[in-house]
């Protein structure tokens, strides 16, 4: 999984999203140790201060915690991970709904398109 950073949004907020995705997808498993700030910064080719900022915010949100002597870890609270995942999904769906509204689609139309496409994908 590579770090895909866009140029028109603050880097730290994109890092927060991308680390979040790594946690939700299980690439960073609950309770496991996170690489050091420097390693992560180098991997993503970003400034270590920016990575530090992203990690502190994730820590405030509770997805990460610091053990003073041994580094940073992913939370073991799987319920919390689930909630954060849900929140991200809702956020993305509401963005999608907004776009559909701008295209002039009503609720029932959107729903029928989605159902149709899901059926299609099953085949």
């Amino acid at each position: 999984m590579s770090w895909d950073l866009k140029s028109d949004r603050p880097v730290y907020s994109q890092l927060i999203d991308q680390i979040g995705i790594r946690i939700f997808s299980g690439k960073y498993a609950p309770g496991s140790k996170l690489p050091s700030v420097r390693e992560l910064a180098q991997e993503a080719a970003v400034n270590p201060n920016t990575m530090q900022k992203a990690l502190s915010i994730l820590e405030e949100d509770g997805l990460l915690y610091t053990n003073r002597t041994s580094g940073r870890f992913i939370t073991e609270d799987t319920k919390m991970i689930q909630q954060a995942k849900q929140k991200l999904a809702q956020q993305q769906i509401s963005e999608f709904l907004e776009k559909m509204k701008n295209l002039g689609f009503g609720k029932t139309e959107i729903l029928s398109i989605i159902t149709e496409m899901l059926e299609e994908a099953k085949k």
Binding site: L5, S7, D8, R9, P10, V11, Y12, S13, R38, A41, Q42, A45, V46, N47, P48, N49, T50, K53
Partner: protein, 232 residues
């Protein structure tokens, strides 16, 4: 964090031309800063003043409390815009020379980076391509354990793949308390590693801001903002 570099009303005139005009800056430790501006905006003049290659017409510039001179050169690692190394020397000889000159030079680090870029230490400089010479110079500069790195156009002559490696080298080789000032106009290539930017225009500072603030406030990249501010 303590300040590494301060300027008070710094000006440099060449005859009637104001290359730098009343600059006030305070740069802290642990930052990566982009010194950005169009051609002739004063970037190189500023960096030369930091290295005592030029002296101010008026005002003051201090690096860690000292006016540029012997003391500051111990802690400043400088990559000039042009190649100043002797062409007849072998890479390994230049490394030995740097070891003699700078107490904070780490030869092991230099050899390590040469190896990763497939540059043979036995090669004479004149047999290397322009881009490879630039890589050697950057390796020498980043192998010092300095407090302030001044990089004047470090990625101008190298191909995009090597650019990535060079940025990686910069990120991987500075100490967390050190500050790096990078002058360039290849903004899109480096903006994600910068903390802050300084925009210079006609010898004046027109904007200093963090990269994330710019993206938040203007909803665009530093590169796009640059194109707008400096539109011809």
């Amino acid at each position: 964090m303590s300040s590494i570099l301060t300027c008070n009303n710094l000006s440099k005139h060449f005859g009637g031309k104001k290359a730098l005009d009343n600059i006030n800056l305070n740069i802290e430790g642990g930052r990566i800063i982009g010194l950005l501006g169009p051609n002739g905006s004063g970037k190189t003049t500023f960096i030369k003043l930091c290295n005592e290659l030029l002296t101010p017409t008026s005002g003051e510039l201090k690096i860690m409390e000292n006016i540029p001179g012997v003391e500051t050169k111990k802690v400043v690692s400088y990559l000039p815009e042009k190649n100043y190394l002797n062409d007849w020397m072998r890479v390994s000889e230049i490394i030995r020379m740097f070891q003699d000159f700078y107490r904070d030079f780490n030869a092991e680090k230099a050899y390590d980076m040469l190896k990763r870029l497939n540059i043979s230490p036995a090669e004479r400089l004149k047999t290397l391509s322009k881009g490879t010479k630039e890589k050697v110079q950057l390796i020498l500069v980043m192998s010092r354990e300095a407090k302030l790195y001044l990089l004047d156009e470090p990625i101008g002559g190298v191909d995009p793949a090597a650019r990535d490696y060079i940025l990686d080298t910069i990120l991987g080789n500075y100490q967390e308390t050190a500050t790096i000032i990078i002058s360039t106009h290849l903004i899109s290539d480096i903006e994600k590693i910068l903390d802050e930017i300084i925009f210079l225009k006609d010898g004046r500072v027109v904007l200093t801001k963090s990269v994330d603030e710019i993206r938040d406030q203007y909803g665009k990249s530093v590169d796009a903002l640059f194109r707008e501010v400096f539109k011809c």
